[in-house]
Amino acid sequence: MGTMMNVKIGKIKLKNPVMAASGTFGYAREFEKLTNLKHIGAIITKTITLNPRVGNPMPRICETSGGMLNAIGLQNEGVDNFIKEKMPYLSKIGIPIIVSISGNNIDEFFILARRLDKIKNISGLELNISCPNIRGEGWSVKGGGLVAQDSKATYEVVKAVRKITGKTIITKLSPNVTDIIEIAKASESAGSDAVSLVNTFLGMAIDINTKKPKLGNITGGLSGPCIKPIALRMVYEVSKNVDIPVIGVGGIMNADDAVEFMLAGAVAVQVGTANFIDPGVCGKIAKGIEDYLKKHKIDRIRDLGLI
């Protein structure tokens, strides 16, 4: 692949700009036999929390036109289990591992970051302050909203994590806001090395025969190709207004979609829902981007941008 595809996010050097998005790639081992993990730029692991979480009631997923809703509710075994059971395998893969974390309050983010900071094979942390399925839990953000819906709360969380770790920090932003630029700027000024956008859109679906919501949690996060144009617009707007790298995510299904995000200003991309449909998609997208660069005679991926 050479160096034409290399990108840098904070201190992390990626061989290519395609990252597997949190929550869609487990802890990578699930894909061990289905794809060559070395072909992926970086892996962002399923969000972990300080303590184990059982997650939301079933049903947790529902397909929609051009997308899907999920309301998993951050089910995970907690940080101790992650370090003991998941890290040994992740450490051996040989590509950057970014750990997604979420907390019920600033202290939890701080404690998680402190624990993970000590682990050499973790390249960075992605702060999941934007999961739409844990609304109203713990936080005193106005209206029971998400951290990523409040610039002050975003600033405080990023600041707390910044204080304890020198590792690369990526803040994952929510599209469920009036002004995503404001939140991105808050994250930047608190010391985040990059922002990834967007997390899922809050949505719902109803079964007209049972007259009940299709998700046990009633609402869920919408992902998939249907959200791409909105995600793309947000990436375009944010990248013009912050100086830190923007990582584009939202409905990327193929290399063309990924290139579109990079033309809009993204330095790297995350592939999420597509992993559910094709476990080898991340590597295929990386290859497709490289083919695009060659075809358009672009020497380095960082030269990619709108005319």
Binding site: T24, F31, R60, T273, D278
Partner: protein
Amino acid sequence: MKDVRAKILSNKKISSAYYKMIFDAPYIAKMALPGQFVQIRCSDSLEPLLRRPFSIHRVHGNIEILYETVGIGTEILSSKKEGNRIDVLGPIGNGFILPKTTSIEPRAIIIAGGVGVAPLVYLAEELAKRHIKTIVLIGAKTKDLILCEKDFKKIAHEIYVSTDDGTYGSQGLVSKLFHKILKTTESRFETVVYVCGPHGMLRCIAEICQERNFECQVSLEEKMACGIGVCLGCVVKTKTGNKLACKDGPVFDSSELLW
């Protein structure tokens, strides 16, 4: 487990709403165990977006699936022609555990509800290979929806049928038939019950098995996105915490489940 591009060898309507598809997938055919399933991408376009899970119905060098057209995915699948290709991921999950042939007189009772019969034919074939006495109960809403009776006739020792409306076999639910059969058959056997069908039926059969102290293995159906244990969408509540229908199941010991 592998993701393969499989060639469709045949795709036929076998009754009012049911289809049988055979495709060429040598790796999956070699590895498949009864009760496992495959994830099929019904369309190469993005509509529908997600793969659909299908039980492995039979394995004879090729893979057979038996399916009902219930939505856009299966509608598209039903329109596929011989020679078309589809992406198939499999074999997936933990299937049925066969009775120990070391036990003095093992007996398997297979109970199928509607299209839940799909994974049970392959199971019955494997039981027959091991010369395990097998009783099959098939239940459906009405006569037209009774599936695979002929297939079982070749391999099972006894077959009983029930329909909710009484148009064929005994009238009533298959759980009622199960009760009746148990009253008339000998109980000296070490019995394992295998069941697949609607949730209410599974629960009912599991309760009967518990009363009788029979081992009961249920094949669960849940909506899934990935099928490989990463989306955590197909959670099943068990006595030892959340399990995944795709990775830990789809077959579970009924005594482990929190119904």
